[in-house]
Symmetry: C2
Subunit: 132 residues, 2 copies
DNA sequence: CTTGACCCCGGACCGAGGTACGGGCCGTAG
DNA sequence: CTACGGCCCGTACCTCGGTCCGGGGTCAAG
């Protein structure tokens, strides 16, 4: 229940002070009340929010997606539907990336294998159909 | 053996004209001879080089790495050692990314599974140790 | 009361890999 | 000859997620 300054909040969440203000500009954090002299006053809910953002970022969500995930309706409830939709889109993207990486890995391995034989291919990075 | 204008070269390689000039500025393409009026005149070697860049990019090499891959020694030979080193570094990076994605995928799947049960976790994106 | 750490703000900057713009010359088909 | 498309150049702009800067006000310890 502590009232936190921006610096303490940032420390507690393990992010940069500038990042906190950036998130506020981006609409990820709710503008907190201010002291008479203009200092931001944060509470535990803000710390939770920052932690949420960190977790979501670690899962690869963009800030825009996280922003959407954090939106609440008039009653203050988050939409499970939106979370489901966003998360499954993210999962699909992750799986796509893994497929791509798998192909790249195979090509790199064969390049290395050929190259270690001293083959000339080593210096040419042979074509192999690439549809990008 | 055709003498290509920048536009034809770009079309043939499937890239933007601006990209060709950008690569020249970046040192990836050798500044070609010019006509009396200053038009760049490209040959097949340039087309090959652009294709090489495309292939390398598809494998995830950065332009800086590609630049290094394209360097030739005094005799015009590319260094197999450098190719090997760069490619194996890239392979390691790809494998690391795959590991990371694998963990993310698992977490997304469990999030989705919980969420579909209508669990409250759906709206909270549970912590799960994240070391980022 | 002073000093140093903290906070305020708007705006500039980073890196990667381009893309777009604007003013002006060139080249060729009709 | 003229119009239109292609080329020249330098510079600005884009995305993404921050990070830094400079000038100025504030708070707590000594």
């Amino acid at each position: 229940m502590g009232a936190l300054t921006i610096g303490r909040l940032a420390d507690a969440a393990g992010v940069n002070v500038e990042t906190v203000r950036y998130y506020e500009r981006r609409g990820l954090l709710v503008p907190p009340p201010r002291t008479a002299s203009g200092y931001r006053q944060y509470g535990d809910a803000d710390l939770w929010r920052l932690a949420f953002i960190r977790r979501a970022k670690a899962l690869g969500f963009t800030l825009a997606e996280i922003s959407s995930l954090l939106e609440t309706d008039a009653t203050g409830a988050r939409s499970a539907e939106r979370v489901l939709a966003t998360a499954s889109a993210r999962l699909a993207a992750v799986e796509q990336q893994m497929d791509d990486l798998d192909r790249v890995r195979a090509r790199l391995r064969s390049l290395l294998a050929t190259c270690e034989q001293g083959g000339d291919d080593c210096t040419s990075l042979r074509p192999e159909p690439v549809s990008t």
